[in-house]
Every structure is written in C-alpha cells, then in structure tokens.
Symmetry: C2
Subunit: 126 residues, 2 copies
DNA sequence: GAAGCGTATTCCTTGCGGAGAATACGGTTG
DNA sequence: CAACCGTATTCTCCGCAAGGAATACGCTTC
C-alpha cells in the first residue's frame, strides 16, 4: 500500500515540519536549518528519507540543494498534505516555523524565481 | 505533537484496515478476524495499540469486546479519518474488507443496536 | 466449579528508524 | 589546485514495533 509509505513519512515531527514548510514553496537545506533550528545532519537525513519515498523532489543549484513538493503528487499524497495543512493550523510549532520562514524569505527570492543564484557564500540570514 | 501519534497509528496496513472498517460502525474482534483474514493475536495487538493512543474505544459485552471509533474524536483525528476514507476509495484491499463485512453484517445487528446479546457461542459466520 | 468460548498478554526474535559524530562529496572561488 | 561552503553519507548505539507461539484472563454455560 502506497498509503502506508505516506504515513510512515508523516509519523515524525521533523518531517511533518519539513513538509509543512514546503507547502509555502521550494526551500534549500540551510534555510531549513534556520527555520527548524535543527542540526544539518538531521535535516538532511529526513529530507533523504522523504525523497526516497517520493514525498519531495530536489534540484541542485550550485552549492545549494533546493527541495520542493513533487510537481505531480498522487491523489493520496495530495489529500494528506492538505489534511496536514489543515491540522497544522493553530499549532504553535508550525506557526513558529512559518514565522521564521517569512523572516528569511527575502534571501529566498531567487529560489522562488528559479534563477541561478549569484548570491555570496553566506546563506543564513541573508 | 498529538498529530505524530495519529500518524504512527496510521502507518501500518493492518491498523489502516481496522480503522477503515470501523468507520462503518462498531465491530467485535472475531468479526475483524473474519473480515481481515488475519490471526487473532495480530488483530488484538493492533487494536490494543490503537486504544492505547485513543484512536479507538472498546466495550465488553459478555464474551465479546466491541471496538468503535471514539465518540468525541479530536479535530486532527476527525480530519485524518476522513482523509483515510477518501484515500481508501478504489483500493482493492479496503473494498474487499467492506464486502466481507457486509456479508457478516446480519450477525452484527445486535452490536449496532447496542443490545446485550443472547446469541449462541458461534460468533463467526452467524 | 469445570469446561468452553472470545480476547488479552507475555515472551521471544527480528528488523527498521532516530540521533549524533565524523567524514566524504560536489561545486564554487581565488 | 587549494581552500571553502553547503550537503550527503557513513558508522554506531539505542529503542521500539511487528510477528508468532504459548499462555493467561474474563465471562458464560451446564
């Protein structure tokens, strides 16, 4: 059952937060670090877990790797992501993540635009 | 996060089938055995797992133990159960479960009605 | 109260996932 | 090519959950 695979991905708080943030748009790993406040290994491994199961897709842009929700998600995935967004409403953890994301957002503009970046080395905090 | 607890419950095929069947109404353990075609230990342990996390409630009626979805489910649980029902549409495994349940249904009537049973020892197959 | 039924719990083995530390990799910059 | 950055992968330890076999429990019946 593919459904089980989806739920296996959803049953970890870190992965839940990653997916919730990704609903706002593509994000690179170092921004995830800043938004979630979790160490790089943790972020990277959970993203690898999600990617291996088709819950996220990744694309390299220079030193950065940009993660995004799949362009063509299955019906089940679509339903569950929507459900997650719904459940996340009002949860302080998820809200805090979004707040931090908004704070960083300006330096993410090129990601949203899909432009190859000319940005300097410093990623965090722009 | 309570959400994670819910997803932990959902990331096993057997539990998914149990919850899906329960959406039709209360069911006793031996009927679960017949519907899912799984051994008693397996059914019982997964139901215990679900009960310990508040995803189902149980009530004893003589020799039988009747399981049901919680009378007052949380918003998150409600949303996810609805999502599950939606995702289950068209899945052959879930459909087969429902078909078998319908077959057994007559002998379950007293369960639905909440009457104390006077039924004879034979549970399976009515 | 002994036998029978439906259900729950224990015991065991096995496998997978989480966490952190250290390290390897790919790409950019001078 | 050397140094550096961002990211990924190993390795090891630990805990938990799944499965099956055997057994214990609660209740009814005679």
């Amino acid at each position: 059952m593919e459904l089980v695979k989806i739920y296996e991905c959803l049953c970890d708080p870190t992965r839940l937060r990653l997916l919730h943030v990704l609903a706002q748009g593509p994000v690179c790993v170092c921004h995830f670090q800043a938004v979630l406040g979790e160490p790089q290994v943790k972020i990277s491994k959970h993203l690898a877990y999600l990617r291996a199961r088709g819950l996220v897709e990744s694309e390299r842009q220079g030193n950065w790797v940009i993660y995004a929700l799949p362009a063509k998600p299955s019906r089940e995935l679509q339903a569950n992501l929507a459900c997650l967004q719904d459940c996340a409403r009002g949860n302080p953890v998820f809200k805090r993540d979004l707040a931090r994301l908004k704070q960083i957002e300006p330096s993410c503009a090129w990601v949203r635009a899909g432009e190859p970046q000319k940005a300097p080395g410093q990623c965090r905090g722009g």
